[in-house]
């Protein structure tokens, strides 16, 4: 957990996140990420063997231990014209984007 992040790691993670960093942005991000990761390494001091990870807290709010999530049912939502009113490029049926595959 004390792995040092390299410039290549930053580029790889940026690519995973669909972020294009300018060359001048990379050194600062590299420095900050290493500083933050060094800092969060404090968590290693804590023994968490056997502790069940907590992804969300709603489990705590129902004393009966029941699932408090709603039923997964299809219900009406915004109509297409309303949604497309905010779309940069559309033919009113699809969102239009640049070509996906280069030939």
């Amino acid at each position: 957990m004390t792995a040092k992040v390299t410039a290549e790691d930053v580029d790889r993670v940026a690519e995973l996140a669909n972020l294009k960093l300018a060359p001048e942005e990379t050194p600062a991000m590299l420095r900050d990420l290493n500083a933050i990761l060094d800092y969060v390494a404090e968590l290693n001091e804590l023994d968490t063997t056997g502790v069940v990870p907590m992804a969300q807290v709603s489990e705590l709010t129902n004393a009966a231990g029941e699932n408090v999530l709603r039923a997964d049912q299809v219900r009406p939502s915004l109509d297409r014209a309303t949604v497309f009113s905010q779309t940069p490029v559309t033919d009113q049926v699809f969102f239009k984007v640049p070509k996906v595959i280069e030939r």
Binding site: A17, Y39, L43
Partner: protein, 493 residues
């Protein structure tokens, strides 16, 4: 307000306006008796906003047409002598991460410039249904990521108490608007302290409701397991009134809690006598400003005088809360912010003719540095080979923290701490150092991770006149107790 001498000259110039009654009860009585009209009140607030906003940069956009229509409806009801809804005519500002149909919603980011969402957030719709007049959208850190409001793409908000200082963040506009009386009350959002900390920096009341208490529908997501919508107001009772209006089950948010919603204002009237108050040593250690400590200790004395029992409690996992929080929050943010890709709404870069290039160029042009930093950290923490060491570990620590609070609430009814280790700092003071900025959240992220509720209530000021806030934490769904304690601290001011 008593702080008037500290306010900049533009604020002093409108002193008579500041001194108008601004509790919900007083405004309501004036409206019902015909002494005030909702349209005049709203127009007065718009004048004040026009006067102060160039200095304070609190509002990003105004929703004047919608506000004046609503105010006219309230005036018509009052003129006919019809019963007025609970928030009739109350001018309220909305943090710009909550959507209002047809109004700009930027989340403080360039990537959403020009976006006009086609629907209302549930909390917004409930306020309006209760008669509130919604003035406009309030400045905040980009995607609510920050503790100073300096990460807004639209410039920092200035603290009305001292315009050289930050108002806190991320709900900096929401807190400053209440402090400068540019709204009677506001909505903010809190992921790691973003309502409580700015409320403390600006000297107003801010509420972190229990996770799931207020619907997140229409909230532009930062970290979904942590994000909460909550009210800010000039006094505890009005904040409690607002929470009762916006809280309650909502099918549009799958994590919304179905528990019944009490009349929190009435609950807050019950007094604090007999309540057991826990004081955790972990929140009074190294790094706590001595003037902040003194003010909070005076607040604790006031609770003793009000008939509370003060007991030490131990929360030893506290020191791991900031690292756990920043891993959980950034991991969730990296997933949530993947939706901003230039396809469906918001900014699309013209600089690329391939899909992958359009995604990355749109995101590069649209996001600011702190948002990129957090997306990168979150993506790294979730990436192959690091998931267990970072994300899973943080989730385990989250459970330890949550269980520690549960145990503490077996022995005490509420826990009191400073809201922030320091009072409002100067603009630019911490902006070059992300870790220093993250540490400003040290007392607030614990309740965020545990899902419990809390209130910031002003409990004094430093020698220089900067407000100090006390954080009052209570168990899941027990906002009533937090409000009772907050009322007792408020009464002693």
């Amino acid at each position: 307000m008593s702080k008037l001498s500290k306010l900049p000259s533009e604020v002093k110039a409108t002193a008579s306006f500041v001194q108008q009654p601004r509790t919900f009860a007083a405004l309501r009585a004036d409206l019902a008796a015909g002494r005030t009209r909702a349209t005049d009140l709203a127009a007065g607030y718009y004048d004040r906003i026009a006067q102060l906003n160039p200095t304070l940069n609190v509002y990003l956009s105004l929703t004047r047409e919608r506000a004046m229509q609503q105010a006219a409806r309230i005036d018509a009801l009052a003129a006919q002598g019809d019963p007025l809804p609970p928030l009739a005519g109350i001018p309220i500002g909305i943090k710009d991460v909550l959507v209002m149909q047809g109004a700009p919603a930027t989340a403080g980011s360039k990537i959403l410039a020009g976006y006009r969402p086609p629907y209302d957030a549930t909390a917004v719709a409930r306020l309006e249904a209760a008669g509130a007049v919604l003035l406009g959208k309030l400045n905040c850190d980009e995607f609510a990521m920050g503790g100073s409001n300096e990460n807004s793409a639209y410039g920092p908000v200035r603290n009305p108490v001292d315009t050289e200082r930050v108002p806190g963040g991320s709900s900096g506009g929401s807190a400053a608007a209440v402090a400068a009386n540019m709204a009677v009350a506001t909505l903010g959002t809190d992921t790691g302290g973003s309502i409580r900390q700015p409320a403390s920096f600006c000297g107003v009341v801010g509420v972190l409701p229990t996770y799931g208490r207020v619907s997140r529908y229409g909230l532009i997501a930062f970290a979904s397991s942590l994000d909460r919508v909550g009210p800010l107001a000039a006094n505890v009772r009005d904040a409690a009134t607002l929470l009762s209006v916006i809280a309650g089950h909502d099918l549009q948010d799958a994590t919304s809690n179905p528990a019944p919603v009490p009349d929190f204002a009435a609950e807050s009237d019950k007094g604090a006598e007999g309540l057991r108050i826990g004081v955790p040593a972990e929140y009074f250690g190294e790094g706590l400003d001595p003037e902040v400590r003194a003010a909070v200790e005076k607040g604790i004395d006031a609770l003793k005088a009000a008939g509370c029992t003060i007991k030490p409690v131990s929360l030893p996992t506290t020191k791991y809360a900031i690292p756990a929080y920043y891993l959980v929050a950034t991991a969730e943010a990296s997933a949530n912010l993947a939706r901003f890709d230039g396809v469906r709404y918001g900014h699309r870069s013209a600089g690329s003719d391939t899909l992958a290039g359009m995604y990355s160029h749109s995101r590069d042009e649209g996001f600011g540095a702190e948002v990129k930093r957090r997306i990168l950290l979150g993506t790294y923490a979730l990436s192959a080979g690091y998931y267990d060491a970072y994300y899973l570990k943080a989730q385990q620590v989250r459970r330890l923290l949550a269980e520690e609070f549960l145990r503490a609430f077996n022995d005490v009814d509420a826990i009191v701490t400073p809201t922030s280790p320091v009072p409002a700092f100067k603009i630019g003071e911490k902006s070059g150092d992300p870790i220093a900025m993250y540490l400003a959240d040290i007392y607030t992220v614990t309740a965020s991770l545990a899902g419990i509720c809390g209130v910031n209530v002003p409990c004094g000021a430093t020698g220089a006149g900067l407000p100090v806030g006390m954080q009052i934490l209570a168990a899941h769904l027990d906002e009533s107790t937090a409000f009772r304690v907050a009322r007792a601290v408020e009464a002693a001011q």
